[in-house]
Structures are given as C-alpha cells and as structure tokens.
Amino acid sequence: MAKEKITGAMAVRRALEAEGVEYVFGMPGGTILPIYDAMWGCERPKQVLIRHEQVGGHAAEGFAHATGKVGVCFGTSGPGATNLVTAIADAYMDSVPLVAITGNVATSLIGSDAFQEADITGITMPITKHNWLVTDVHDLPRILKEAFYVARTGRPGPVLVDIPKDIQNTEFEFEYPESVDIPGYHPPVREEPRLKDAAVLIRGATRPIIYLGGGVRISDAHKEVSTFAELVGAPVVTTVHGKGAFPETSPQCLGMFGMHGSRYANYAVQYSDLIIALGARFDDRVTGKLSTFAPEAKIVHLDIDPAEISKLVTATVPLVGDLRRLLPQLTEEVRRAEAAHGKPDLAAWWRRIDEWRKKYPLTYQQEGQKYLLPQYVVDTLWKKTNGKAIVTTGVGEHQMFAAQWWRTSEPRQFITSGGLGTMGFCLPSAIGAQLGRPGELVIGIDGDGSFQMTLQDLATAVDLELPIKIFVLNNLFLGMVRQWQELFYERRFAQTPLTDRPDLVKLADAYGCLGLRARTPEELDQVIDQALANSKGPTIVDVRVRRQEKVFPMVPAGAPLNDMIDGGGD
C-alpha cells in the first residue's frame, strides 16, 4: 500500500477498510469525534448507531459469532468506554474475536482527571487478550494491525485500542503494515502432540465419550469432528457453546450436559472411562463438583490454549493445537490403531446409554396445563421453523430451555452468553447476527428480565429494518434466580418478582415494530406465523408462560454431576 499523508483518525478508517470490516457498532462522543468525522460517508465499514455502548459490543459479538469474522465496536472516552466493559468481559470469557476502539482525552490531559477521562486500558487489562494506549501516531498502523491479528488468531478474544483525541488529529505518513511481528505472541504451539498415546487410549476405551466445546465452532472444525466421531463411534455431548458442533438430531448426540444437561448425557459423562474433550475447558457448569467428576475416566484434552490443559482436570494426554489441523491427524492415528488391533466393541456401552435415554428422557407435558410451558414454546418454534434459524438468547431460565429444546444441527446457529452469563445479550446479538447473515431467519429467545436490560436498542433494530423475531418468555420473574430461591432459599423470593411493566406490545408499537402476545397454544401457533411472515422489521412477541416452571434436571452448584434434582432418576 502506498504511503499517504493523513490524520490518525483517517488512519483508523484506512485500517478498518484494509481489514475488510463490514460493520462498526458504536455511538459518537467528544473524544472519538475525529474518527467519526473520518468515517463520514464511508459505506464499508458501515456505521451502526446503537443507543448504548454495551449493545454495540454485544452486537459486534453476535456478528462475530454468526460469521466467524472479527466484530468491531467504537466508544468515546469515559462512560462510553466503561459501557463497553461488560461486552468486552463477555467476549473474553467466550473467546469472541472483538476489536474495541475508544477515544480518549488528549495525551496532555491524560492523568489529570479530565472530563470524561477513564483509564480504559487499565480497566480492561484483565478482560482483554491485549490492549494498547496509543501515545504516538506513528505506532497507530502497527497497533491496529496487531489488534486485529491478536483478536482473531490462537484462542480468539477481545482487544482494545485507546486513541487519545490529539493522536486522532495528528497528520502523518500512513502505511498499513502487511504483516505483524510480535515477539511474545506465537499462537502455534511448541509441544509435540502425543497423538499415538491418545489413539491408544481411544482404541482401548470401552466407555468413551466425546465432549465438544465452543472451540469446534471457533476453528470451524465441525466436519473434522464429524469424521472423527463417526470413526470412534462414541456418544457425543456438548457444552452450550458446543451446540451445533455436531448435529443434535443425530442419535449419536446426547445433547448438552452439565448443570442443566439431560440426565442421560450427564450419566454418560460421569460413568465414562475416557473423555475426549475437544475445544472445551471443563467449566464448573459442566463438571459439577470437580473432585467427583467422571472418577473412572482418563482424559484426552485437545485445545489451542495450553493454559486450559490440566487447569481444572488433569489431562492424561494433552494435545495442544488448532482442532481443525490436529483432529484429522488424531483421526488418522486412531484409524491406524484400529487397523492393527481391531475396533473396540462399544455395544454394551451404547446399550447402557440407550437405557438411560429411555428411562430419563428430556420431557415436558403441555397437555392439561392451564398456561404455556416455556419448553413447549421453544419446541414449537423449532418444529414450525424446521430448526432452520439462528437463535440468540439472553441469560436465565429461557436460555436453558432454549439450550435443551432447540436441537441445533449446524455450527453458528446458537448464539449465547455462556461464560459471563450476561443478561441483555439476546437483542444485541440478534442485531449483529442478522447483519452478518442477512438472508437468514434470526430468532431471539429471551426472558422478561433479560430483555429489559438492553431493550432501548429496539430503536437500532427498527432503524435497520432487521426482521429479527424476539420471543420473550415472560414469567414476570427473574426466573433462574427465583428457581434457586425456591430450591435453596426456602422460597424467599427476594427481589425476583417483576411487575408487569412495560406492556411489551405497546412498547413494540412505540418503537414502530410489530408487537404480539400469546397465552395459549392456539395463540402461540398464530403469533409464530405472524412473526415469521413479518419481513419489514423486528417483531416482539410477549409469550406469557407458566410462572413457576423450573429448568430440570438440575445439578445444584457444588454437587456431583450425577446428583441431579428432578427429571426422574434414582
């Protein structure tokens, strides 16, 4: 690229253009004005005006999750930057590639407690892969190049570039670097993969299980996973971020395990003799009480982040590397081992699993119920769309009902806040996902508490005429917390009942989008049809569900994985 004499602000535009950024989610403010001015009239990247920076961050996450590309958001200094913090933390926990660019007060004012000054690099240090405070405009092209590189490579994650206003205004000779050279950042790993050892364990196991996490989606390795799973023939379980890594409609898949996993999936993990963990991190929400987790299982752990290996569960055979590159090699080793020693016989193991599956199915009973059950709502949505939709969720009971009943068959089809558990994630991530995949059906499954945390950005969705459909499973409670209060706090419902405000149908009307309500199966059937038919803009559906319905089965926090409440069982 030829050199050109431009301002730091224009350099940001040039960098975003060079990186092929399609959308930037943000809101202008005093210290990021030069950058917004430089972006004036820019068609690609297109600016998306959100109404709160947190939404900009989550929308960028939704875009990244749905497309596999880096999400980008802007914020001004001070509150604009601190409003981004929740989204950045969310992206950090869920390994979402995100570049946040913030304005800051002029370098001469930094440290003086100037108006709208916040030490955002200090604040976001623990929740970014890396961040930069630009103090010399000549560093800016290199830093922006590095920012995108660090965000998307290795284990992806958020980065932040903080650019003081005077740096944005300084003219310099701009040239965007072609490559990066960061001496301390080398995503490829040095350890020799012990593929043969892993193959021996896999070949020798009689009760193996394949445990898929978000890493499968991140490395786009679902085809490689499918080949591996077919060869090994072991049952497959997933985390909430592993949904879509393997078709949940396949009989080989036992769906999600963990705190709200099915009883049969949890039993299969707990009684396995080998866990093959692919792109997963043994989070406490899936292991239950760690000291009693799958006591007889050896562990083959494949992950790109060496720090995840043996962090919580000691790996018998650690394999560090990119799943997409390494898994075919492992498949090959297993094939060789099986050719030499024969295929292991998993028939007895499958018989046990099928017995569990028959005895403890994931189920609900809508018939005879006075009110709609949330499980029925998700199940009906799935059936009426043939499961062909991208689903985004908030956080709470509705999220777990969605995870249990939306049978995901493709990667990047279930977008949720897993690690941080950020309420308010549904609407923003639906906005980002719909922009990223314009021709596809995007359905939000939200809760009334979660929806109210970011609902102001209905305005953004209406402005953009995005045909997203948000189904609010409205139980007039902060339902998941209420569930814990009912089960573990002797039914003292401290601050969890919500009042019936706002009227979501009127709210939709006020924002200029379609608002619908359903209280019965018949009404639900109708409103789903209406929502699916509305291509003009967003649809908000207020689905009144049974208020006391709880998510089962449930592994109480700190209990062993096979010690579940309800949902049948011993």
């Binding site: 240090m125 892969k129 405070l133 301390g184 007889e296 720090a307 043996s310 018998t316």
Partner: protein, 177 residues
C-alpha cells in the same frame, strides 16, 4: 484420576521472564498474579542485554502443578516474550540486602567481624548507627539477618531475588539467541 487442583502452601519456585520493555507490562503481570490468586513472594525487574527487553524474576510459594499453570497463563500475555520456571538445581540466585543497625560504637568492631564472615560490607557509619550491605542467596541473607538482630536492627531493605541458569541455556526466543 486427578481432578482438583488444590492450592497448597507448596515450595519456593523461581520464575524468570523476558518481557517487552513497555509501559504497563509490570501491571499486566502483577495483575494476572493477583486476579488468579497467586501470591508473589518477591518480584524484581530490570534492564537486560537488549534495551527493548526487561528481565523479571518472580519468586512464588506454590504447588508445582500450580506453578505450571502460572507459567502458561503468563506466557499468554502478549508482551511476555519468554517465561520459564528455573530449576532449583541449575540456579544462580542473588539478592541484595541493606541493614541499618542502631548500636553504640563499642559494638562496631564485633559487627565488622560478623560482616566479614558473611562477605558483607559496612557502607555507612555514624556514631550510633551503621549500614551493612550484603548479597547472596536468600538463605545466607536470612542467616545474617538473624545474627544482626541482637544488635538492634532499625530497618531492612531487600531487593528480592534475581536469578540466571547455569551453563549455556538462555531465556530467549530462538530468533534472539
């Protein structure tokens, strides 16, 4: 199968880091230690043979499993070029100590003799105080400190450990070796 990682009191480990010499790097590293609950016994940082890099020596008391985890977490920080736990057997470690002792002049001779035994020097003398400077490994300095205590220690300042490995091995990425 091992499942939980206890955080035992553990033993002393020396971690050596080569880091980019840039603002905020110390904050990134100490922040990582504190937010993951690893206590730092001592931390030193200073320039190296190349101006763009600094060397840090961090001493921790942790179980060896946890130390492995610490090293992997630290390695992920972008400005950390290289990090390794230095094996106790291959270690040259040094620490610097200054001790101010309030003591009448009549004790000075005895103190001089003591200092000599520990290869320490007396670097400041006034009528009722003197300052002893000593260097060596932590054990030697602890011993000297114990011997000086009866004379009336007023202030101690210890630098924390610096360390290098014996022999040819260095802590640098291949392109810098």
């Amino acid at each position: 199968m091992e499942r939980t990682e206890e955080k035992p009191n553990g033993s002393t480990h020396t971690i050596s880091l080569l880091v980019e010499n840039k603002p905020g790097v110390l904050h990134r590293i100490s922040g990582l230690f504190s937010r993951r609950g690893y206590n730092i016994a001592s931390l030193t940082v200073g320039p190296t043979e190349r101006s763009e890099y600094s060397r840090m020596t961090i001493v921790v008391r942790l179980g060896s499993k946890t130390v492995e985890q610490v090293v992997r977490q630290v390695q992920k920080l972008v400005p950390v070029v290289e990090v390794r736990e230095l094996s106790a057997a291959d270690l040259i470690e040094r620490e610097l100590m200054l001790v101010k002792i309030h003591t009448p002049e009549r004790n000075h001779a005895e103190l001089r003799a003591l200092a000599e035994t520990y290869e320490a020097t007396i670097v400041d003398v006034s009528p009722d105080a003197l300052v002893v400077e000593a260097s060596g490994n932590a054990g030697k300095l602890d011993a000297l400190e114990d011997r000086l205590r009866p004379f009336g220690i007023q202030e101690i300042c210890r630098s924390g450990r610096i360390a290098l490995e014996r022999g040819f091995k260095t802590l640098a990425p291949p392109n810098l070796k």
